[in-house]
Symmetry: C2
Subunit: 114 residues, 2 copies
DNA sequence: TTGACATATTCCCATATAGGAATATATATT
DNA sequence: AATATATATTCCTATATGGGAATATGTCAA
């Protein structure tokens, strides 16, 4: 089997840095494709393709305005990602874990790989 | 250019569902590969390969114990992912946004794509 | 209708993937 | 040393990718 499609879910779609940039850029306001092209410094076809991926996964919403297509981030679709990462949050916030890790690090020093 | 390598960063590594499962499984305790194999129901070589990817990106730590390799999740490496998603958090928590979206939804009904 | 503008789609290609199967490596046990 | 156990690596293949270039589609203006 090959790698899962970029359009299979938000996790895969968001793995591409340019698409994250696009989502950042479209977070606050809807924008036409041309603005994204200018802002990211990518070729227009590339941007359109990235937007296509994001749209299929529901990460952006579109509406037409004249000959412009106005895109905006649909934050709700990022939520699953946030929820998943959140599960690990206390591992780096709780002091206890830090102390524990320090202690363990000592015995690991010699066994770390690469 | 092709897709970025799975080993290029945490975002790419975590796009694969099996690897997320592994990270969940290894979050609380370190475990030998055999346990992961049994738990996930994957072939042993597959698990080793996934662990290899996770290790290169720093998402897991290993130490040897006899002939066992004990893996555990390194939550710190998930942090960038959490931080990125966090930026969008208030979009689904704030009530105002919800109301706003409702209002906008009305005008969008006819323009949604696909 | 013709032309300009905005965006999307198609064709091209080198590249990495995940899984399966087989095998290699490393450590412990006897 | 020989064998068993635990894990890693290699070889294989179908598949999707992202960018570039070229072109198609759609919409407005005159």
């Amino acid at each position: 089997m090959a790698r899962a499609r970029t359009t299979s879910d938000a996790f895969n779609a968001v793995a591409e840095p340019r698409r994250r940039e696009i989502l950042n850029y479209l977070a606050l306001t809807e924008r036409p494709v041309g603005d994204i092209v200018a802002s990211l410094g990518l070729e227009q076809p590339s941007v359109s393709k990235h937007l296509g991926v994001l749209r299929r996964v529901g990460l952006v919403r579109v509406r037409r305005h004249g000959r412009h297509m106005l895109y905006r981030t649909n934050a709700e679709a990022i939520r699953p990602l946030h929820e998943w990462t959140k599960e690990f949050e206390h591992f780096w916030t709780h002091q206890l874990t830090r102390v524990q890790e320090r202690a363990e690090a000592k015995s690991k020093e010699r066994t770390s790989t690469e």
